[in-house]
């Protein structure tokens, strides 16, 4: 599902170049559930953004679902992300003006595949995470845990091959967080989706099939 070789993402700060992320090699198989760990600032989120096509690598090869993202233009990467990748953010990033159901449907709007069936799937997903009766509620009317479950549904609505989650448990208590994470992993497993999750929490990482420490992937300069 994911093949990374000699990845390097650097930013210019005046005359100085700052390397935000560096990965010698990483392979994640299709359907695998992988935790990505590392100390703060080591580039976990940057790596996730590179895999999602949100940022373009400075060098190296990033192949996701058979597509090399590095040479793709921004629009093509957007389209690719919309079709093949689902994202779950640390701060959930639900849009306040929209209801839970509409927030979930937003994930399908930009996939370029939205049709009438997505509404049914959205309702099914909300039902599966126990929010069927909250479909018409706005994010402000939902608890933190409920908001995160909506975000998970949004990441899955368009049936992506890959789900990327960046500290998806956020500020939730460990018990609730673990419950929500299990929901995500159960659905992903049932539907054969690959999951890559950035986390600091060893407990959450323990729920995944494999844990990768970013420091271990560093390219030797």
């Amino acid at each position: 599902m994911i093949e990374i070789q000699n990845l390097r993402k650097a930013y210019r700060l005046g005359a100085r170049e700052v390397v935000a992320c560096s990965v010698r090699e990483l392979r994640i198989a299709s359907g695998e559930q992988v935790a990505l760990m590392g100390r703060s600032g080591c580039g976990k989120t940057t790596l996730l953004h590179v895999i999602a096509g949100i940022v373009r690598p400075t060098g190296g090869v990033v192949r996701v679902a058979g597509t090399d993202l590095a040479p793709l233009g921004e629009s093509a990467r957007d389209r690719f992300r919309g079709r093949h990748i689902g994202l779950v953010f640390q701060t959930f990033n639900l849009l306040q003006p929209f209801t839970a159901l509409e927030n979930v449907l937003l994930g399908a709007v930009f996939s370029g595949q939205a049709d009438g069936s997505h509404r049914q799937r959205a309702l099914e997903l909300l039902d599966r995470v126990g929010l069927a009766d909250r479909a018409d509620h706005r994010p402000g009317e939902l608890s933190i845990g409920q908001q995160q479950r909506v975000a998970i549904c949004r990441a899955l609505i368009h049936e992506p091959e890959l789900v990327l989650a960046d500290e998806p448990l956020g500020n939730q208590d460990p018990e609730t967080g673990a419950k929500v994470l299990r929901m995500l992993l159960d659905i992903a497993q049932d539907e054969g989706r690959t999951v890559v999750m950035v986390t600091h929490d060893p407990g959450s990482a323990a729920l995944m099939q494999r844990t990768v420490r970013l420091e271990d992937l560093r390219e030797v300069a």
Binding site: S40, G41, K44, T45, T46, H49, A52, I54, V55, E74, S75, D78, R79, R81, G82, R83, I85, L87, F89, Q90, T91, N93, L95, Q96, P97, F98, E102, L105, L106, G107, A108, V109, F110, S111, G112, A114, R154, D166, E167, V198, H200
Partner: protein, 472 residues
């Protein structure tokens, strides 16, 4: 869910800002629509006004435009006099035969009642004048809403003119006019017997038919009395001797015909201090009916070639000129059109300012929307889709504003139709929607959409990674 529903939701969440922007667009569009409505109604009214007036023959003095404005539009004053000789030539004389006259109707002007002009004419004004043809091809005459028209035909006018000529001739030292000569109303009975009080204007002539607008504005009906006034506000002469009974009210025509009072031309010329015959010199001895002075002649010919003959005929004459109402009014409209164009430009500037308002309002929201845009981008939205959402919002605000503006314009036309009619004589058709208004809505929507491009570009260039939340 689609881009439109996202745009709609964004507008709803910023209801105050969206509402105020919509109102500013509505005011701009409403102003344009109101101007168009007024200009269209005015032009329509002017075009309708000259129906039935193929040509107007009037005094040599003054411009053709002044002649048309006075005769057709009831504006200004008569510029001079036309001798009756011209009228007789056009009515049943040499020119009438050559041109194939349909009607030639005399007008004498110069007096008013409550600001409305008195028009001395013959009853051919009611029986011959035609404002065009109806669907069956029959001529559209001036109808009566109430009462009936007075009678004073062409022959009576000729007899009156001949009597007047003899009176004047007698006063210059010729034979005294006989009692028979004073049978002004042509009923075969002298208007007064020997030793009786002489009523200078017979009762049979002191009758008036008023236009629909005169009746409405003055509340006059059949049986009412009008007393003509000669002169301006500074110097007025009340013609008590010509107090006339209203015998009929014309059906409304929506033209200046509604705003005049029609009396027998004999009554008009018999009023005190009205010089029916103007003598160029006291030494003149030979006075005839042809010297009776009138203000203008309304002319229409059966023969379409009459126009060129008429033009040729009056090019070289010193006693009268011909004016073409359709030409003069078209010129006038072109003149007014320039002013209207300036107003149109100003109205479009208001729309442009409103569009700037749309631009500024949306631009200012872009900073607070950066996170929302970044989230949509992260979900796979392309820059073009973000651009599309913002432009859709701008277009929607503009379209709603334009529709509201047009509705506002028609609502205002409905509310103020009476005031506008009284002050400008323009009858606003508040319920008539035009294609121009449909194009106005389209135009304002497009302009508003374009105004959304700048904020849309700003929105679409948001750096996604910078606004998704904390990094780990």
């Amino acid at each position: 869910m689609n881009l439109w529903s996202i745009a709609r939701r964004n507008l709803r969440i910023r209801v105050l800002s969206s509402g105020l922007t919509t109102i500013s667009v509505a005011l701009g569009a409403g102003l344009v629509a109101a101007l168009w409505l007024m200009i269209a109604e005015t032009e329509q009214r002017y075009r309708q006004s000259y129906a039935g007036y193929q040509a107007v023959i009037g005094p040599k003095e003054g411009s053709p435009l002044a002649l048309v404005l006075n005769t057709v539009m009831n504006r200004g004053y008569a510029q001079g006099i036309v001798p009756m000789k011209v009228y007789r030539e056009l009515h049943d004389g040499r020119l009438a035969r050559r041109l194939g006259v349909n009607y030639a109707i005399p007008q004498a002007r110069g007096d008013f009642y409550e600001g409305f002009p008195l028009v001395g004419t013959t009853d051919e004004w009611f029986t011959r004048f035609s404002r065009g043809k109806d669907e069956s091809g029959a001529p559209v005459r001036l109808g009566m809403a109430e009462g009936e028209a007075w009678s004073f035909d062409h022959d009576a006018f000729v007899r009156f003119a001949e009597d007047k000529a003899r009176e004047v001739e007698a006063s210059l030292g010729g034979a005294p006019a006989s009692e028979e000569d004073h049978d002004h109303d042509g009923d075969g009975v002298p208007d007064h017997g020997p030793g009786e009080h002489v009523d200078p204007i017979p009762a049979a002539w002191r009758k008036a038919v008023i236009g629909a607008e005169v009746a409405r504005r003055l509340g006059l009906t059949v049986g009412g009395v009008i007393v003509p006034v000669h002169g301006t506000e500074d110097f007025e002469h009340l013609h008590d001797e010509a107090a006339s009974e209203v015998v009929g009210v014309l059906a409304p025509t929506g033209t200046p015909i509604d705003s005049a009072i029609y009396v027998p031309i004999s009554m008009f010329l018999s009023m005190d201090k009205h010089e029916a015959i103007h003598l160029s010199s006291p030494l003149v001895e030979d006075v005839s009916a042809d010297d009776i002075r009138i203000s203008a002649i309304v002319f229409d010919a059966k023969n379409h070639l009459a126009a060129s003959h008429l033009r040729t005929e009056f090019q070289n004459r010193s006693d009268a000129q011909v004016a073409w109402p359709h030409v003069e009014i078209a010129d006038l409209l072109r003149l007014v059109g320039n002013a209207a164009d300036v107003l149109r430009i100003f109205a479009w500037l208001v729309v442009a300012v409103a569009a700037m308002g749309v631009c500024v309002a949306l631009y200012n929201t872009m900073n607070e929307r950066r996170r929302e845009i970044a989230i949509m981008r992260a979900l796979g939205a392309r820059r073009a889709q973000i651009l599309g959402i913002v432009v859709l919002e701008a277009s929607a605000v503009s379209a709603i504003g334009a529709v509201l503006g047009v509705a506002l314009c028609h609502g205002a036309a409905f509310l103020f139709r009476t005031v506008v009619l009284e002050r400008t004589s323009v009858a606003l058709d508040w319920a008539a929607f035009t294609w121009d208004e449909a194009w106005l809505i389209v135009g304002v929507t497009v302009v508003g959409g374009l105004a959304g491009v700048l904020p849309a570009i700003k929105g679409s260039t948001v750096e996604v990674a910078d606004h998704l939340g904390p990094t780990t």
